[in-house]
Symmetry: C2
Subunit: 355 residues, 2 copies
Amino acid sequence: MSELRWDPLKKNWIIMAHEKGRIPRDFFRERKPRILSVCPFCYGKEEKTSPEVFVVRPESSPADTPGWQVRVIPNKYPVLNAEGRPDERSRGLFRSMEGVGVHEIIIETPDHERGLADLSPGEIVNVLFAYRARMLALRGDDRLRYVLLFKNYGEEAGEGISHSHSQLIAVPVVPPVTAAEIEACREFHESEGDCLLCAMLRQERAEGERIILENEHFIAFAPYASGFPFEMRIFPLVHCHDFSRITDQEMASLASALKDVLQRLKKLLRDPSYNFILHTAPPPPQAEENANGLPGCYHWHLEMIPRLTKITGLEWGSGFQVNPMPPEPAAAFLREVNISALDEPFDIIYRFSQE
Amino acid sequence: MSELRWDPLKKNWIIMAHEKGRIPRDFFRERKPRILSVCPFCYGKEEKTSPEVFVVRPESSPADTPGWQVRVIPNKYPVLNAEGRPDERSRGLFRSMEGVGVHEIIIETPDHERGLADLSPGEIVNVLFAYRARMLALRGDDRLRYVLLFKNYGEEAGEGISHSHSQLIAVPVVPPVTAAEIEACREFHESEGDCLLCAMLRQERAEGERIILENEHFIAFAPYASGFPFEMRIFPLVHCHDFSRITDQEMASLASALKDVLQRLKKLLRDPSYNFILHTAPPPPQAEENANGLPGCYHWHLEMIPRLTKITGLEWGSGFQVNPMPPEPAAAFLREVNISALDEPFDIIYRFSQE
């Protein structure tokens, strides 16, 4: 059985190649144990990293010493230069720009042995709080057009240091994927007077079979046109184009949903590698444009992609994705996972202090 | 040092993140030895595969028996269904199409121990001959819009069976990457009256520093906006939009160039995993459209991507590619490789017979 499915957000065809009843075990991949060596992200190693630019720690504890809960530092090996201006140059057909931007690491916990799925919802709130704080802070830099937050977990996902962290890249151009998604939403809004992603959410909820969970503010589902086995997206139920507008109550709800889906993924697929990416509308001038006639035609969300299959010449050469696990059985498997320990009460949230 | 470079064909920014003088050794990856078990692509195992649909073998030798040089078979685990019609269905926002198409394997040699780089140019001509023959044959199927030829070599590239082979996918829609490249070329042709890729070739040749080799009919270079370390593209020097129009003389010249770059890659980077993808214009109706005012605004080529880095959340989430090895030093390293054994004369080309 093979079916092509159209993703109206990414404007891509997905090849669902589901020849037989595949089960999660078919996707297990060997995971090397996390090796504890001298880890620069652990307590007591703060001097091995750049000084923290944001931190969640008790007020009494000094910067760049142990005691923190979440710590944001500039990446020691950034892919972009912190200094300079993103001026464009060209030479015939060849155009370039100085690679100006910000590349930061969000260390999600001092505990080397725990992944994001293992943190309490309260600890995950601290991580989300750091995301929002850094996104807002970097919007003050007029050289930068977009702040991309993402996580590489496990070797297959491109994780470098095996101590739970996510990354932030702030860039001088709107990334191609973001620009294309915003354009698809704008086109839909112009023709239908509606948010494409609100409309997709309504249809996912009406059909129901791909939904994994829903709480007060968020919904998680395996999208109709999933490009990866067990791919999930987490959306706020109420339309909002910009992640940075998330309220504290919504953040608690998102942390709870995130822990839930990460636990399901971990238990179902034996702690697989995954990436997640925060998709949000760019700050002004895009937002100003939105205010002039297209209010919030984007809808922010988290995209979660387990890395269980290889990206081959077919995917790179064609842009098609080949997915051997359709979202309907994937969602059913994910719903069935027993994650009873999740009912424990939230930890106390630490006081936040920005350096 | 970081620089953003624009790829006008893929309309993507590449982040060249070249912090220090990286050398090929920095990109070495462990390669597991090819394990010889019961390989369905070896001589004597023909009955384990589907019957051959094209073959290069002496006229006297019967189908589906040993004696062949190149053998094309339907993939036993196709991602597309051979039967059916690609009719579109929709349900609200959700659109789909039956996954109709062809998925074939081109077994490049009977020898389990040799990769494409190890074949003689004459043997590689046989492989290219099979590509052309299958592409032309499948254009007769009016359900199909594009024939994609690609190769996954090595584990990182998604190779399944470790016996040298490439793959063919014929699909009922023009792949998104192809459609976007054709559109970029069309736009350039409309505004400049020229082929975008001819113009890029002229500039690459004029600047020279990214050229790896040039022979009578072909040129290989590390493109200005390389998205991968040691990425290469091989172009015909004379403008042509359609690979299937290649002449026998040009095929010999392409085989020679392909062997040359594959040998350089193998020696420089210790037999790395790679993908290559044949980019060519779709057959009519696209070609008819070209005939109406935009003759041949595409320029076919081979894209060769060594798989030395991971595709992380940054690449998937943003569409940016991050390349730690700019093409100028990459091309210099590739040029310096000594591949003296390449001067040996061509083997005899076998008689072709189509089943």
